[in-house]
């Protein structure tokens, strides 16, 4: 860019320059995320089938249910959610800050390291090297790789945020900036405590619960909320109302989302479950503040541009899921209801609803909006409609029956819950497969269309022409 004359830069639409700087890195991260979503849905489907047909694939150790299930969770959380979250964060922060993405190369290189780390972790679990914990289920040796990958990506995102044009940061920027810094801190802290200082006995579990809590309640929630705080006003063409509420929510959710997550009956000192209840109650005040702010912003609004109405409505659905899950979470954080739900399929079902129904839907909706401006071509509208329907019903189908079945706790109900959940898994598999094909198709088409390949081959000729 530096070689171009200054008048040319001034004449260009700034958005286009920003988009050009985002194109490679963001599309790379988004594409690997969509691939991991496909991997997740294949393995989640397999795991569901193994519950019904106990004799199936019984002779291959690496397809045991206990290996497929945590591996699929890894693919979903670290492969899909984190990477798409980073892609969307990078795009939003550079657009909000009205600046080009700084050092996009770090983003690509860090993303590659992250992908290698997740792949090694995935294969490690399948070959029987899992750590035995639930949040950090991957082999411990993979964690430093993930950490450095994330730090490289984070370097680019934080620098981009620091180079913003307006000094004042908006709520979307606080949330995304905080999320980008928070995950490496927590990842490094848990790695050191569990694998380096060799936490003894239940200390390993306490650190693991601390990681799960921070990963879900702070990192993923902040990515989701930051995206909502940017897109809901932007797509409906309104101003974000209630900045004070957002600020309240930010600090309250950061403070109380970072402690807790210990079940009511866990074999640990009794103050830990009590602390979890306290923090869940205070965290709920943050959820209410988010709801007030978003409700003031978008009540009665619809998407300003009809092309964005799908993304806008998906985000509203995700916000609704977030609020209802907030109410359920605070209810089941109390020891009485909590011990009813503890150890049932309610827990994993709500975790999946959080991962896919809240964060996943928001990020996919954001992808629908940003993809055309980056690739220069939109997703096929028909396929997009089909895949969105399949994903939404897949998520609801895979979670609600098993959550209800878990609460009812009857064996028969539990069984039927599992069958419904498998139907949901099947829909999810279809949805993510179509999303993957859609993405791949659009990329291939745009490469063919815009002559980017030709541009790469004939760069020399162009320079001559310019001269």
């Amino acid at each position: 860019m530096s070689s171009e004359p200054k008048e040319d830069v001034a004449k260009q639409d700034p958005r286009e320059a920003v988009d050009r700087s985002c194109r490679g890195p963001v599309l790379f991260l988004a594409f690997s995320a969509v691939t991991w979503l496909l991997v997740y849905s294949v393995f989640a489907m397999l795991a569901g089938v193994k519950v019904h047909a106990s004799g199936m694939m019984a002779d291959s150790a690496w397809l045991a249910y206990g290996r497929i299930q945590p591996a699929s969770q890894l693919a979903l959380q670290f492969g899909f959610l984190v990477q798409l979250g980073l892609a969307v964060s990078a795009w939003i922060l550079s657009h909000r800050g009205k600046t080009v993405l700084v050092d996009g190369g770090y983003l690509i290189f860090g993303g590659m390291l992250w992908n290698i780390g997740v792949t090694l972790g995935f294969l490690g679990i399948l070959t029987g090297n899992a750590s035995g914990l639930e949040g950090l289920q991957m082999p411990g040796k993979v964690l430093p790789l993930l950490f450095f990958g994330f730090v490289l990506v984070g370097l680019s995102i934080v620098q981009t945020n620091n180079r913003r044009t307006d000094e004042e940061m908006s709520p979307a920027q606080w949330f995304l900036f905080a999320a980008t810094l928070w995950l490496p801190w927590v990842l490094a802290g848990s790695y050191l405590l569990i694998h380096f200082f060799n936490a003894k006995g239940v200390m390993a579990n306490i650190v693991d619960w601390w990681f799960i809590q921070n990963f879900a309640r702070v990192y993923l929630t902040f990515v989701g909320l930051g995206t909502l705080f940017h897109f809901l006003p932007a797509l409906s063409g309104r101003q974000l109302m209630g900045r004070g509420y957002a600020q309240f929510a930010f600090w309250v959710m950061l403070l109380f989302g970072s402690v807790g997550g210990v079940g009511p009956g866990a074999p640990v000192p009794a103050w830990l479950p009590a602390l979890s209840t306290v923090s869940a109650v205070f965290y709920f005040f943050g959820v209410i503040a988010v709801w007030v702010s978003l409700n003031q912003t978008i009540s009665g609004a619809s998407a300003a541009d009809t092309a964005d109405s799908l993304a806008y409505n998906l985000m509203r659905l995700a916000a609704l899921i977030f609020i209802s899950m907030g109410v359920l979470n605070v209810f089941f954080a109390f020891p009485g209801p909590g011990s009813v739900a503890e150890f049932t399929t309610y827990g994993p079902a709500m975790k999946l609803l959080f991962n896919l129904g809240f964060i996943g839907l928001i990020l996919v909706a954001a992808l629908y909006h940003i993809f055309p401006s980056l690739a220069g071509i939109d997703f096929s509208p028909k396929m997009t409609r089909i895949q969105t329907t399949a994903i939404v019903f897949g998520v609801l189908g895979a979670t609600l029956p098993s959550a209800l079945g878990g609460l009812m706790s009857g064996d028969a109900v539990l069984g039927s819950g599992f069958y419904f959940a498998s139907l949901g898994d099947l829909l999810l598999l279809a949805g993510s497969a179509i999303l993957f094909l859609n993405f791949l198709g659009a990329i291939l088409f745009s490469i063919k269309n815009c002559g980017c390949l030709a541009g790469i081959c004939c760069r020399g000729e162009k320079k001559e022409a310019n001269a």
């Binding site: 019984a58 249910y65 290996r67 900036f177 200390m203 970072s258």
Partner: protein, 348 residues
């Protein structure tokens, strides 16, 4: 938000966590202070990265020290304790997994058994028994204290024995009381000069079945699990979902043959079991031969048989139910085996 209002909210957070939830007092103070800080921060204009970064670092330190390091302070001092086996022999607890069991733990971890099985026996409530002993001098005062307690709580003297309290002998004042009543009884009696002994009994679905006191018991343990039980686990695979039964005490419930048959085909013991077969732990030399367990399967079963943690009384987790009440006998014929497996229904 003004300083005053945020201070009030901080005070509220601190006092709620101390008085209502019984947190350790320095933690409650810390929580109050940081709630004050967090609410106070609402005044700060968040336009600089350093404001954000400073607040975040502070919160991170609070979170790490308040939850993780504090727990480490408390738990890192765990040591062997003396306990009794079922037959009364004393030994030092816990016992690290011996021989093949350590390898079996690795197999358990690698196969992801933790995805469906927990290793934690929980309790839902406690029942307290209060006993008292009076001397000759304060007999009348203790008797009066006991009758005052009965009048106040509406509880009846068990068999009228307590009112005829003989001097120099332990006498049960109340059984199965809740925490509030038990502490009342203890305070009254202690004030009257009696020696008082309070015994804790755990109640809950996971614990031993007992027709009168715990009719819904699943026989998964004689007491709840505590941190002491996992001193040598690498790492403790506590689990969060029970698609199958809890395994914290599986070594006391099942024998080697039953465990082997469950691993090969779970449906032999329980028809509607959702557990997948673990054929990869067995090998078949020739086609017509029966499948033989591999070294891994033997080690895994060794490990499972070593899991007996919820049996032995500990100071923080006493045992009140006899071991033999409804335990299956160690060696059972196949027909009996099906019967004894019944109490361990999978899932809730």
């Amino acid at each position: 938000m003004t300083i005053g209002l945020s201070f009030l909210l901080g005070l509220l957070a601190g006092s709620v966590s101390y008085f209502m939830l019984g947190l350790w007092w320095p933690l409650a103070v810390l929580l109050g202070l940081f709630a004050w800080l967090a609410f106070g921060l609402l005044d700060v204009k968040m336009d600089s990265t350093f404001t954000l970064l400073g607040g975040m670092l502070l919160v991170f330190c609070v979170s790490l020290s308040g939850m993780v390091l504090r727990a480490n302070d408390q738990l890192s001092g765990l040591q062997y304790v003396d306990t009794q086996d079922v037959d009364g022999t004393e030994f030092r607890y816990p016992v690290p997994p011996l021989g093949q069991a350590r390898y079996g733990e690795k197999i358990y971890k690698a196969s992801g058994c933790v995805a469906c099985h927990t290793q934690q026996v929980t309790h839902e409530s406690v029942a307290l028994d209060v006993k008292a002993m009076a001397g000759e001098k304060n007999l009348a005062a203790v008797q009066e204290a006991a009758s005052r307690f009965y009048k106040l709580t509406g509880r009846k003297a068990s068999g009228g024995a307590a009112l005829g309290l003989p001097a120099g002998e332990w006498e049960t004042i109340v059984t199965g009381a809740n925490a509030a009543d038990a502490s009342k009884a203890r305070n009254f009696l202690a004030a009257a000069g009696a020696s008082v002994d309070v015994q804790v009994r755990f109640r809950g679905e996971d614990l031993m079945h007992n027709d009168l006191q715990n009719p819904e018991g699943r026989n998964w343990g004689r007491r709840r699990s505590v941190a002491q039980d996992y001193l040598f686990a690498e790492p403790p695979m506590l689990g969060s979902v029970r698609i199958g039964p809890d395994l914290a005490n599986i070594g006391a419930r099942y024998n080697r043959d039953m465990l082997m048959s469950v691993l090969l085909d779970p449906k032999t013991l329980k028809k509607d079991s959702k557990m997948p077969q673990h054929g990869f732990l067995f090998e078949q030399a020739e086609k017509d031969e029966q499948r033989q367990p591999t070294r891994e399967a033997e080690a895994l079963v060794d490990y499972l048989l070593s899991l007996k943690s919820a049996n032995y009384p500990l100071p923080e987790a006493p045992v009140d139910q006899p071991f033999t009440s409804s335990m299956p006998k160690p060696a059972t014929a196949p027909a009996e085996a099906a019967d004894t497996a019944k109490p361990d229904e999978a899932g809730k």
